[in-house]
Symmetry: C2
Subunit: 307 residues, 2 copies
Amino acid sequence: MNLLYIGACRENLETYYPDYIKGIFIDGGVTHETLVAVIKEHGINVLMVDVLDFFFTADLLEKVKDDVRLINFSYQSIESLVDLDAARDFGIIVKKLPRDIYCKEVAEFALAQLLCACKGSLIFDRDMRTGVWNQAAHTNLSMTGKTLGIVGYGNIGRHVATLCQTWGMDILVTKKDLDTPPEHMTPYYRFVDLSTLMAQSNFIVLAVPLTKETRYMVNQECLAKLKPGAIMVNVSRGDIVDEEAVTHALNSGVLYKYCTDVFSKEPVEKSHCFVNNPHTLLSPHVAWATKMSLKKTYDIWFGQTQI
Amino acid sequence: MNLLYIGACRENLETYYPDYIKGIFIDGGVTHETLVAVIKEHGINVLMVDVLDFFFTADLLEKVKDDVRLINFSYQSIESLVDLDAARDFGIIVKKLPRDIYCKEVAEFALAQLLCACKGSLIFDRDMRTGVWNQAAHTNLSMTGKTLGIVGYGNIGRHVATLCQTWGMDILVTKKDLDTPPEHMTPYYRFVDLSTLMAQSNFIVLAVPLTKETRYMVNQECLAKLKPGAIMVNVSRGDIVDEEAVTHALNSGVLYKYCTDVFSKEPVEKSHCFVNNPHTLLSPHVAWATKMSLKKTYDIWFGQTQI
């Protein structure tokens, strides 16, 4: 078995999973041409993919179909990463991570970022380290009494609701098919459509997979419905939102803060519109990656390399 | 009624309570001599006290007993701020804020800081703003499966437990008199003594009032019992801990992080040992001060100025 890692973080592997199976590492920014050449040269039969801005097209898959037996993604949601029909047609096995392995961690991270934004943790700490004691530097917000809107009713969205169950907030949830009765209905939140959620929520957590339907669902039209002063947290994928429209909403003040772990293009460059915006709270796609879940993820990811 | 504000933040008053009753402002660092002179010169009969490092001694109270009718503290716990026996003997009314007006906000803030420390919110954001995409820059920790120790079983401590009820953590609580059956017993946490709590908790929240018994309760001896790698959050008062001993525990790595909203001496100076320590998360005594609770607090504080 010859492994090629695309975009995998070698430091994370070395640190958290020293038993990882060695192979060849290649950056996510690789061209199709180079990728094909590397595969042919090294007789690669397993691709370990840990990058979001690379799409396996039918064309590319056809070129490597005699070499690659398995494309093994380190993601749970891969519709936007590979042409699944083509892979099936060419007999290439595609694997992804099971849906529930780190949903709790992602939900926790979403709330960490939300609380951090509400309470001003960064601003107060930064001030104090420069010798400034300014209690009015940030509008510290209460959670109790507010309305939280959760976009997405998968494992992550449900766990966000669970974590906040006792916070004294109104919790609204929107899901793909609102007419289908939910399996996990509980009395402490209620289902509404996206427009109602945007209009009524002080805090919004985005927790949907990236699909054709959800791509750019938070666009200019959607953001126009926001309750002024809302705080939005994105732990889904960058392309759930139209990043330009979000920037506009931040700059106009309608959106008070945008906390995001995910970006349209990753890694993010310093020139990205969010990087220089004082109303963002940024993290490099790490919501899932706790010490505990990294170990678990690598166990599973490497456990499914058999071909 | 002539008001003298000691250490009150004029900006907060102007911003959040523009109807506040005007008076004379004086810094908390004032000497007894100057304070007496100001009181005499302006015929002050009400002191509005919003500072923690000033103690009203019997001597001082005697000097102003014919002028001052009321000392009105903006705190809930004032044992360490005024000689209550002397004030009573001299017929000076002492008022403090009711115990429960912002316990929810303080509990929320404690968890914000805890999550922020566990998830690395500051470090990831700081990195990204300098163009660094480093997913391994911080050891992101899961909350689920951990043990949380809450020191203090007042309104704040109990609300911390309530907020975390559904987080999948073991919750330990210690209180003053462990033999007295608690009024609010619930099945999702258990009572232990301080030593057990220190030894078993991954995360510790300090939420006790400052009294003779609690002053420096988190000292070198207590910290020696810590589970290595613990994170501690202080939303009580600075002097609950021995700040030097905490610094030592941080530098030796036994204590992984110390998140504190309170300090032995406030405002904190830039030379303070916590300010330059990379393992601290600092805030300027703002846990209570949300937009909502500032309004409520000022309403109550000014509502009890009648003499």
